[in-house]
């Protein structure tokens, strides 16, 4: 759960109360401008260099009262991880891999053994040198059943923890059980931050890593503080310190920003009404993370009528993603055309069938489901679920599909509705590499496969892509995989939405994409 629903999951707390409060608040604040007014939101935060030093105050939604600093855990305090730790590899803004603790990596001709050359002269916050033993230990810690790491399910089929090789202090050799040309991309996940050898028992409290900040204090679901680590290999961060505060309620978080008590709202996608208020304030403004999350209406392919591929196709042809973007996102996003791969990724293909309600009608008639009527479940878990559902309902009417939008309780939405009801609304963070995206969410039998879609041809294309070390050919195979998802899969992907992040007008150098946050260059101006 932590994997996907990072922003929303933590702000669920009394979502009813929260959204009601937000509604009350924004209604009071926006007055009579009404919901149909176009968002007057700045496209980007203030430019320019920050001053050196200062303390950035971040309000974050707590994961749970059982939070930990162990990056491998499903209950890790997400915002601390990137400040305290480094991974072997990270994701650059264009979706390509970039070096972090590993300077370079290569594979053999069959993509079966991967060798990582590790950065030299890196020290953990306690002064101990970082070596390949720490990298190997981190992988074994993730794979350890006692850790119960969400990323174990992804790595366990590939890695035998006993066979990890450390020929010298700065080389890590990972033999794979099956070929995988995209293996390094799996290590970009935020569960894969590198921890010191033998630290499994204490890491949840000590937070000792190689990252740009070291831990000063931490309380689960409470306040905490990290200070600049001057010996960081990429240089000292701009800030002197970051203070983290946990504020569970979304409207309380934005009030703290408006009152000048904090400088940045982490993992908070502001609704449009609140965003307008924040943008109009003297103290705060809005930064956008382009295409930060992709929204899905999953059709459970094991439930009638979605067992019939013609019905799934009809559901997709019936609606117009451009209409959904216009209505639900007020234009702040990109139409998805049922392709979950973000448009800025190198592997992205732009081909897709056009919106065609007549053909949808014809397909439904053929499948014996003329005038199909369905319940579509949403909740206040995310502010865009219901607008998206209503926009779909409206758009699909022309194909004779009657959708009834039902609102379920937000705090049990992901245990009671997700993967249980045949049609519902959900979303994911973009920022996972393309192989991980397909393997986790679309491959037969994967635990995150929310449409329960099982397609032998699709799985075969994925296997072929993984074994293909030629980049161009592999890209073509991922294109093929996208075509299969669009044409046969159970997931409707109406839109990619920009995330609206509330930040203080003093913040400079804010940069975030996917699960990457730039802790080094963010700073304050005139604080």
């Amino acid at each position: 759960m932590s994997d996907i629903h990072h922003p929303g999951r933590r702000s669920v707390l009394a979502a009813g109360v929260a959204s009601a409060a937000a509604l009350g608040g924004s209604w009071l604040l926006t007055g009579c401008s009404g919901a149909e007014a176009a968002p007057v939101l700045p496209a980007a935060a203030a430019k320019g260099a920050p001053d050196r030093g200062g303390t950035l105050r971040i309000a974050r939604p707590p994961a749970s009262d059982a939070e930990t600093l162990d990056p491998a855990s499903s209950l890790s305090a997400y915002e601390y991880l990137g400040a305290l730790y480094n991974r072997l590899v990270r994701v650059a803004a264009n979706g390509e891999l970039a070096p972090d603790l590993a300077e370079s990596w290569e594979t053999d001709a069959k993509a079966r053994t991967w060798t990582f050359r590790l950065r030299k002269g890196v020290a953990f916050h306690n002064g101990r040198a970082f070596t390949s033993a720490d990298a190997a230990y981190t992988l074994r810690h993730i794979l350890d059943k006692a850790t119960a790491s969400p990323q174990a399910a992804v790595l366990a089929p590939l890695i035998d923890p006993e066979k990890l090789g450390t020929p010298d202090a700065h080389t890590l050799v990972v033999p794979l059980k099956s070929p995988n040309a995209e293996f390094p991309s799996l290590l970009t996940h935020y569960n894969c931050y590198v921890i010191p050898d033998g630290s499994a028992k204490s890491i949840g409290r000590t937070g000792i890593g190689t990252g740009p900040f070291k831990l000063e204090s931490f309380a689960p679901a409470g306040p905490g503080r990290v200070t600049a680590y001057k010996d960081h290999f990429a240089g000292r961060p701009v800030l002197d310190a970051i203070a983290f505060y946990s504020v569970a309620d979304m409207s309380a978080r934005s009030n703290a920003l408006l009152a000048g008590q904090v400088d940045l709202l982490s993992q908070t996608n502001l609704d449009f009404a609140t965003a307008r208020v924040v943008a109009a304030s003297d103290r705060a403004t809005i930064a956008r993370v382009k295409n930060a999350q992709w929204y899905v209406l999953p059709m459970l392919t094991t439930e009638k009528p979605f067992t019939d591929v013609r019905v799934r196709q009809a559901m997709k042809l019936a609606y117009d993603p451009e209409h959904v973007v216009k209505v639900a996102l007020q234009g702040a996003g990109t139409p998805g055309w049922d392709n979950p791969v973000p448009p800025n990724y190198p592997a992205y293909i732009s081909a897709h069938p056009k919106h065609d309600p007549e053909k949808a009608k014809y397909l439904l008639k053929q499948a014996g489901h003329e005038g199909l009527a369905m319940d579509l479940y949403t909740s206040s878990y995310d502010p865009l679920f219901t607008p998206m559902a209503l926009a779909y309902q409206d758009s699909a009417k022309r194909a004779g599909i009657r959708i009834k939008v039902k609102t379920a309780s937000a705090d049990s939405y992901y245990t009671q509705i997700w993967m249980k009801k045949p049609l519902m609304a959900t979303y994911w963070f973009t920022g996972r590499p393309v192989d991980q995206l397909f393997t986790q969410i679309f491959r037969s039998g994967s635990s995150y496969n929310e449409t329960a879609w099982s397609d032998k041809q699709f799985d075969a294309v994925l296997d072929k892509a993984r074994a293909e070390i030629d980049d161009t050919k592999r890209r073509e195979l991922y294109g093929e995989a996208q075509t299969l998802v669009i044409e046969r899969g159970g997931a409707m992907t109406p839109m990619f939405a920009d995330r609206l992040v509330g930040i203080s007008r003093k913040v400079r150098g804010y940069a975030e994409h996917g699960f990457e946050f730039d802790y080094l260059n963010i700073g304050l101006k005139g604080a």
């Binding site: 759960m1 009394a14 499903s74 703290a256 995150y448």
Partner: protein, 318 residues
């Protein structure tokens, strides 16, 4: 009178016993259990089953109920399924923070609203009454979170006098929490005061129409003296009950307001416990709320009786 008190206390215990059963059943009826909630989406059926066993959720409900009640009677509310700490200690820490708000709220609400209620009653159907009645009606109708949000906008955002949210954890000291207490207390007082104002106004009007007040006036006493000596004590009697009920309401109503201010009190603990399906904590809070309710009611009844001679005698002759 003694038998009345005994019966009243026995009834209170009966109510508590019944509420313990209801609390337990209600908590069982929450959709989704703690095992799935803790493990989240990544849960395998094996992991869920193991955790359920570890948390003793696989035993029959009546067994778990009995263990819980037996423990609670001995002051042991079990350990939190989420944080692993003793529920009793956790709850009392948060309860202490909420008590701070409650005390300020009651002081604001009771003194303010009794004065306003008496004024409205004395100036019945004249402009002070119209103003006070209208404002209190609005206060009564507007939900707490709207009042709270308006207060934040006025006194934290526009005029930065008070903090908009509390950034400290539950272990914050009183001096750390004190600046953040006023706005939540004021928000609660506005909603709570409305009822007391209405009640006090009605009582004053009733009392001022009685014969003994007329007699006192005819004796030539000043209005002020009539009000403080004769009218006020009688007018306060029915108001007492409303105040008691409102204090009990505070325990629940505070949840919404604490959420708006991120105040580390019992209401916020309740919301996060419900979200995490932390059964022992939810049960402890619900039971404590029930105790507060029952005790407030009992205290109001007994105080009313102590102050009202007619009720006292009726109790004796029966």
């Amino acid at each position: 009178m003694l038998s009345f008190i005994t019966r009243r206390i026995a009834a209170a215990f009966g109510t508590l016993f019944l509420s313990s059963i209801l609390v337990f059943l209600a908590v069982q009826a929450l959709p989704g259990d703690v095992a799935t909630q803790i493990l989240g989406k990544d849960a395998t059926p094996d992991a869920v089953a193991a955790l359920r066993k570890q948390l003793k959720l696989d035993r029959p409900a009546w067994e778990r109920y009995w263990d819980w009640v037996w423990g609670a009677l001995h002051g042991d509310f079990g350990t939190s399924l989420v944080s692993g700490k003793a529920v009793g200690g956790e709850v009392s820490m948060y309860l202490g923070n909420s008590a701070l708000i409650a005390i300020v709220t009651v002081l604001f609400a009771v003194t303010g609203s009794i004065v306003l209620g008496i004024l409205a009653g004395l100036y019945r159907d004249r402009w002070p009454d119209h103003v006070i009645s209208t404002v209190s009606l609005v206060g009564m109708s507007v939900p707490e979170f709207v009042v709270a949000t308006v207060l934040v906008l006025c006194f934290s955002v526009a005029l930065p006098w008070f903090p908009a949210v509390v950034l400290y954890g539950p272990d914050a000291s009183v001096s750390q929490l004190l600046p953040a207490v006023w706005l939540p207390a004021l928000a609660l007082a506005v909603v709570m005061a409305a009822y007391i104002v209405r009640m006090a106004r009605t009582s004053v009007i009733d009392v001022m129409a009685t014969e003994y007040v007329t007699t006192a006036r005819l004796k030539g006493l000043s209005t002020w003296r009539v009000v403080t000596r004769h009218a006020l004590p009688s007018a306060l009697l029915p108001t007492l009950h409303v105040i008691a009920l409102n204090v009990a309401w505070l325990v629940g109503g505070v949840a919404v307001v604490e959420n708006v201010f991120n105040y580390p009190g019992i209401g916020k603990l309740m919301l996060s416990s419900v979200q995490n399906r932390d059964l022992p904590t939810i049960q402890a809070i619900a039971l404590i709320s029930a105790v507060v309710y029952v005790v407030c009611n009992l205290a109001a009844d007994l105080a009313t009786m102590a102050l009202n001679p007619r009720l006292r005698t009726r109790g004796r002759t029966r």
